[in-house]
Symmetry: C2
Subunit: 154 residues, 2 copies
C-alpha cells in the first residue's frame, strides 16, 4: 500500500476502486476502505472470498486488511507531497477465529504525525509504527497488528 496521487477527502468509493486497481489481490479479497480521514484509517474484509478449510477467515487476508491501512492513512494525514509509506515489518497476533466480515482500524496522534512530517522533510524519510485492531461483527477482537512503516520520498 502507499499514497495515491489523487485523493478526494471522503471519496471512499474512489479510494477503494483505486486501491483495488493498483493492488489486484486486495480487490480479490473484496477489501473496502471505510475511513481515510486525517490521522485515521479503516477497512472492511468480507468473509466470503477469504475462507479457509476451518470455515474461518484466512490469516493472510486478516494480515492484508490490517497492513494496507499503512497506505490508506497516508491519503489524508501527512502534509507532504511525493512521499509514500513502505511497510518494513509487521507482527500479527491471531486472537480468535473470524467467521464474519471484519473491520481493521488504526490511528496516529497529532504529535506523532507532526514528528513524522518533520523527520521526513528533514531527512527524506521517517519511520513510524502503526498499531491496528481487527474486530468481527460482534465487536470481538480477532487480530492485532504492529507494523513498522517508512514514509519516504518516492
Amino acid at each position: 500500500m502507499g499514497r495515491m496521487e489523487t485523493t478526494q477527502p471522503g471519496d471512499l468509493d474512489e479510494l477503494t476502486a483505486g486501491v483495488q486497481a493498483l493492488v489486484p489481490i486486495l480487490g480479490q479479497m473484496g477489501i473496502t476502505i471505510i475511513d481515510a480521514s486525517h490521522g485515521r484509517a479503516a477497512a472492511v474484509l468480507p468473509a466470503g472470498p477469504n475462507g479457509n478449510h476451518f470455515g474461518t477467515t484466512y490469516a493472510g487476508s486478516l494480515f492484508s486488511v490490517a497492513e494496507m491501512l499503512g497506505g490508506v492513512i497516508g491519503f489524508n494525514t501527512f502534509a507532504l507531497a511525493g512521499f509514500v509509506p513502505l511497510v518494513k515489518s509487521l507482527d500479527i497476533s491471531f486472537l480468535r477465529p473470524a467467521t464474519t466480515d471484519v473491520t481493521a482500524t488504526t490511528s496516529l496522534s497529532e504529535e506523532e504525525i507532526a514528528r513524522i512530517e518533520a523527520e521526513a522533510l528533514a531527512t527524506g524519510r521517517a519511520q513510524f509504527v502503526l498499531e491496528a485492531v481487527v474486530t468481527d461483527a460482534a465487536g470481538e477482537v480477532v487480530a492485532t497488528t504492529s507494523g513498522v512503516y517508512q514514509l519516504r520520498k518516492f
Copy 2:
C-alpha cells in the same frame, strides 16, 4: 492452512489443488506447493497476480506464501492422526522489494518434530515456531518470517 485428510507423499499437484480449493484466496495468488516432505515445506508465489502500485509483490501475498507453509509441513511430518496446525502469531520482515516469482521455504529438525509429537500426544496440543525464508529468482532474500503455530486435535 492445516493438515488435509488425504496426503500422497510427493503428489504436489494434488496438494496444491487441494489447498487452492480449501483456501480460495491462495488460489487467486497462484501459490503452488513444491515441497511437502518430512520436516520440510516450500511453495512458490508468482509475481503476476500479486503486484502492487510500486511494481513489486504485495506484502500480504509474501506473508501468505510463508504462513501457509505451517499447514504444508503438516502433511508429511507428524506421525499423528487428526491434528491440525493453527497459526497463533507471525512476525514478518520485508528486506527488499520482490519483482520476480518468489519461493518460501521452511524446515523442522527431527528433534523438534519428536518434541512436538510427544507434547501433542500427551496434552492434545503442542506449540512450535516455524522460521521461513522468502527468496527471489536471483536467490536474494526478500522476506523472513517467524510464526508461532499450535498443533491441536481437530
